[in-house]
């Protein structure tokens, strides 16, 4: 047997070396950036298999041999959690990623206002809760070794020394974990090598268990049907279940699956892609089902095959051994060994992160009065803290193993551990789903639940009378009957495990809820609570810092010590570049400080990172309340100044309006002056001629008859001009004031044009040739015909007056659409210059030199008329000549009169 034991140790060492090589290769690949294959859904799913420890590997069979089907509840709970990933896991993973959470303690502390007290409590609870579990692994491995070494002789000499072998196993695991987990301080607390190693181990243990199962079912029993018959015929043949345990253990295993530090590590911290959770939601239940499929057959065959009194926890190894299949037994041992090593590595890694981040670092920081910037290389301190924590945790596990005597059934120890960590559940779930959950509630709930668990589950596990006196169990502590560890409130007859789980979780939850309802959270807690609960709405960080006090250099020094020089410099440089600054040091603005805090928290945990940055930023004296007070104040000032701004904006708006009004008035006054000047000029000019010539005719003697006639006719023409001017002015005034009365009538457009041509022609000199394009001879329209005719006459008269071509010509054409009429007057005279075109429709604007008979009101009147008729008149620039366009609706909706 010694030979096979040596062989076994040799094989184990080779196996460990192989794992180490795999992990090393994976980390090398990750460093070189080729980590794609390291982070696949398959690897993620397999890494979850650290749930299946040596306890499940060996213990499940023993459990089945003792209690029948009940072992399966340990797998049902996690299966339900994974299948229902949408409920909790998705949110946990998202929060874990967005808040850079490093552990379950970090999650709870970050949620409740980055409280380090809470982090310490959770860490202590986790260490205490997981210690039995680590002891369990030691126990399973040594038990398995002992199976190879042969049953211990009655005098204990021939058998394996359980204590010393346990010690060596513990020492080996510790070395292995230190080498694996703390080779460097990973930026985001992920361990590519470890994850790959545990994925490999997941395959090994599954293959080993299935190999044994297949050997048992088809090799020994002879197929599925005979196997089932054998099962039904065995002592386990009938359905036997403690119903309360069945339900309680399913719930407990589900809770533990979420709360176990090592599960949190692989589920959340090591998660690389949320989609992996979706795939694992069905793939991991497959794994769990396969792991539990052959448990009952192995148990039944073991019970039948091996002598009574054999340890059922060892059937997985002892059945193949009894059948002479040493190779299979070694494989099976390796499976169990794998389960133990992967669990211990991840569990101690997770715990050591918690211990170093939440216990060692805060103490270290508080002992160094200068703060993080004054001390030496924090990085090495953290690594040393991690290594020490690992050794401490494994030592504790070994201590428990020694104290509990390695006697208890594996399953019972595992359940104690489960119940311990399940105490995190109310604070955790409450924290991510209920914004009202507070630090006080979480702290009191956790402490009470933990106390009940210690009292009703952990301490009794050492045996009645070992730690707690036997009287406690009989009459209660100091005779208080309702405090008996197995019968709280005098309710007896509940299974001790169910009793402990029920009361601890129930009271934990009650106190958590009541405490939360009664207490008032601090501002940071409320911010964090909102961030956690609404993580899918916004994945930003809680606002915290405003820092002009913090010198970027100090922050840089600190960051270098924690993140490493190269990474810290890269981070600072990137931030500086984003801020658009040249150089290596960014402005310590809130965004940067938040980012830095997040990066630091990935290495040292949320609470510590917060504390470090706050030391830097505000000499450790700036509390969040202060910050919020400052924020309030500045908000008030902002409001006040914005009020002032509003007022001054109002004033300047009013001033602007006044200025505008003034400008308008000035402009109006200028226009009025100009208008009066124009009118005066237009009136006085003909009057001057009239007066001069009438005086000449009165005073001068000896005027010839021809002279007299000439002067009289001048007087006559000027008088007519005056009259027309007055007519036009009146007309314009009436039009502009909208007092004009229009007489709408229906008639032919051509008739209006004909009349206009004749009327205008009568007053002209007959040189202008008018060309009519009578394409739309019978176009009908409804409008004020006289007014429209006035516009046409004006345009024709203007052409007569101003068209200076050799053979002046005016083309008149009509275009009709169903609604609109467009009359074009195109002459061949000199085009109106661009500068003047804007003015021609203004009053008294005479562009070209004319015979002086017009007052320059014609086009202004035309424009007014067309506006009244619902149309318009415009001048269209031409290469040669001028084009006036008159547009109007066929049926004028005559403008308001």
């Amino acid at each position: 047997m010694t030979a096979s034991l040596n062989l076994l140790i040799g094989v184990s060492l080779i196996y460990v070396a192989f794992l180490f090589a795999v992990a090393f290769a994976a980390e090398r690949a990750a460093v070189r950036g080729r980590s794609g294959w390291l982070r696949t859904p398959l690897v993620y799913t397999l890494s979850l298999s650290i749930y299946c420890t040596a306890w499940t590997f060996y213990g499940a069979v023993g459990y089945a041999a003792r209690s029948g089907m009940e072992y399966v509840t340990i797998y049902l709970g996690p299966s339900l959690v994974m299948i229902g990933w949408w409920w909790v896991l998705r949110k946990l993973v998202r929060i874990g990623r967005s808040q850079r959470v490093t552990s379950v303690a970090d999650l709870i502390s970050a949620r409740y206002g980055k409280s380090n007290t809470l982090a310490i409590v959770v860490t202590v609870m986790a260490v205490v809760g997981v210690t039995p579990y680590i002891a369990l692994q030691l126990q399973s491995v040594t038990l398995a070794l002992s199976a190879f070494a042969g049953p211990p002789a009655a005098d204990g000499s021939a058998g394996l020394n359980m204590l010393s072998s346990g010690f060596w196993v513990a020492a080996g695991l510790a070395v292995f974990t230190v080498l694996f987990g703390t080779r460097n301080l990973n930026a985001n607390e992920r361990h590519d090598g470890v994850v790959i190693a545990i994925a490999v181990e997941a395959v090994v243990k599954l293959v080993a268990l299935i190999a044994v199962g297949i050997f048992v079912v088809w090799g020994i029993a002879g197929g599925v049907r005979p196997m089932m018959e054998q099962i039904d015929a065995s002592a386990l043949g009938t359905w036997q279940v403690d119903r309360s345990r069945w339900a309680a253990l399913t719930v407990l295993s589900a809770a533990a699956f979420l709360c176990l530090p090592r599960m949190f590590q692989v589920l959340v911290v090591e998660n690389d892609d949320e989609r992996h959770v979706q795939i694992a939601s069905w793939a991991f239940p497959v794994y769990l089902m396969l792991m539990s499929l052959f448990v009952v057959p192995i148990a039944v065959v073991g019970l039948n095959l091996l002598p009574p009194g054999s340890n059922p926890d060892l059937f997985v190894v002892s059945v193949p051994l009894a059948e002479g299949r040493t190779g299979l037994a070694v494989l099976s041992f390796l499976g169990g060994f794998s389960s133990a090593t992967s669990m211990v590595i991840v569990a101690t890694l997770a715990l050591s992160t918690m211990v170093s981040n939440h216990v060692v670092m805060p103490i270290y920081l508080s002992l160094k009065p200068g703060g993080a910037s004054m001390s030496g290389d924090v990085r090495s301190v953290i690594l040393r803290a991690r290594r020490l924590s690992i050794l401490l945790i494994i030592a504790l596990g070994y201590l428990y193993y020694v104290l509990s005597g390695g006697s208890g059934a594996l399953a019972a120890i595992g359940l104690i551990s489960f119940a311990g960590v399940a105490q995190f559940l109310p604070a955790m779930l409450g924290g991510i789903f209920w914004r009202g959950a507070t630090r006080v509630g979480a702290l009191s709930g956790l402490c009470l639940g933990f106390a009940i668990w210690v009292y009703a589950s952990l301490l009794p596990s050492f045996g009645q009378g070992a730690v707690l006196p036997a009287s406690f169990f009989e009459v209660g502590p100091w005779g208080i009957g309702w405090l008996r560890p197995y019968a709280f409130f005098g309710i007896e007859g509940i299974d001790p495990t169910v009793h402990a789980v029920l009361w601890s979780l129930l009271l934990n939850t009650c106190v958590f809820v009541v405490g939360s309802l009664l207490s008032f959270p601090k501002p940071l807690e409320r911010l964090q609570g909102a961030q956690f609960v609404n993580v899918f709405d916004h994945s930003g960080q809680a606002r915290g810092w405003h820092a002009s006090v913090a010198a970027s250099e100090d922050l840089m020094i600190m960051a270098q010590r924690i993140l490493g020089a190269a990474e810290a410099q890269a981070l600072f440089r990137a931030a500086a570049r984003e801020q658009g600054m040249i150089g290596h040091l960014p402005e310590p603005n809130p965004a940067f400080l938040e980012r830095l805090e997040r990066e630091l928290s990935a290495s040292v945990g949320t609470a510590t990172a917060h504390a470090m940055v706050s030391q830097m930023v505000g000499a450790a004296s700036v509390s969040v309340e202060d910050l919020l007070a400052v924020a309030d104040e500045s908000a008030q000032m902002l409001e006040y100044s914005s009020q002032l701004e509003t007022k001054s904006a109002e004033l300047s708006r009013t001033a602007g309006q006044l200025r505008e009004a003034n400008d308008k008035l000035t402009q109006l006054s200028v226009q009025k002056d100009a208008f009066l000047g124009q009118i005066s000029h237009e009136l006085r000019t003909p009057m001057t001629s009239i007066r001069a010539f009438s005086e000449i005719m009165r005073d001068a003697e000896g005027l010839s008859a021809a002279e007299k006639t000439k002067y009289a006719s001048i007087i006559h023409v000027e008088a007519i001009r005056l009259t027309r001017l007055l007519d036009d002015l009146l007309d314009l005034s009436v039009l502009e004031n909208g007092q004009v009365s229009l007489n709408p009538a229906t008639g032919r457009l051509d008739a209006v044009l004909d009349h206009a041509v004749i009327t205008a022609g009568a007053s002209g000199d007959g040189r202008l040739r008018i060309v009519r394009h009578k394409t739309t001879a019978d176009t009908m329209l409804t409008t004020d015909m006289d007014r429209l005719g006035q516009v046409f006459i004006n345009l024709i008269t203007n052409a007569q007056k101003y068209c200076r071509a050799e053979a002046p010509q005016l083309e008149i054409s009509v275009r009709a659409t169903p609604d609109m009429l467009r009359v074009e007057f195109r002459d061949n005279g000199t085009p109106i210059p661009d500068a003047a075109r804007a003015l021609i429709f203004e009053k008294f604007a005479r562009v070209a030199e004319g015979d002086g008979s017009g007052a320059g009101l014609g086009l202004a009147i035309c424009r007014e008329i067309m506006a009244r008729l619902g149309g318009d008149i415009s001048h269209v620039p031409q290469a040669s000549g001028n084009l006036f366009v008159v547009q109007m609706p066929r049926a004028a909706a005559l403008a308001a009169q």
Binding site: T688, S689, E695
Partner: protein, 122 residues
């Protein structure tokens, strides 16, 4: 030798009337109706008196007067300005520009002839 007057005016009938009146008084009358070229016409003609309309096409009477006063030879040339706009501001403007006499249209023939006689003592 007859005194020489230059009428700068664009209204045909007013030119007619003024020419008639001044010729009968023994003036040699020249006319010019474009504001833009008025200054050079005055320089060429070197009249004893200029009758200048306030509103002219091309250039205003004030502008012509200002230009004229800037020329040393014409700084003291008598200028009678006629305006039809009749606004007080125009008169002030014209006086600043150096007008000798400012009259608002319509005026009586006697008035304008007296003004001419005042300006140029025969």
């Amino acid at each position: 030798m007859d005194k020489h007057v230059l009428l700068v005016e664009d209204e045909v009938n007013i030119i007619e009337a003024m020419s008639f009146l001044l010729k009968r008084e023994g003036w040699k009358v020249d006319t010019h109706s474009d504001g833009a070229t008025a200054v050079s016409a005055i320089r060429d003609a070197r009249p004893d008196l200029v009758v200048l309309d306030y509103m002219l096409p091309g250039k205003s009477g004030i502008a012509i007067l200002t230009e004229l006063r800037a020329l040393p030879d014409f700084a003291a040339l008598p200028v009678l300005m006629l305006t039809a706009r009749g606004q007080l501001r125009d008169r002030e403007e014209a006086e600043r520009a150096g007008v000798n006499r400012f009259m608002t249209k319509p005026f009586s023939n006697t008035e304008v002839l007296n003004a001419v006689r005042d300006l140029v003592r025969v």
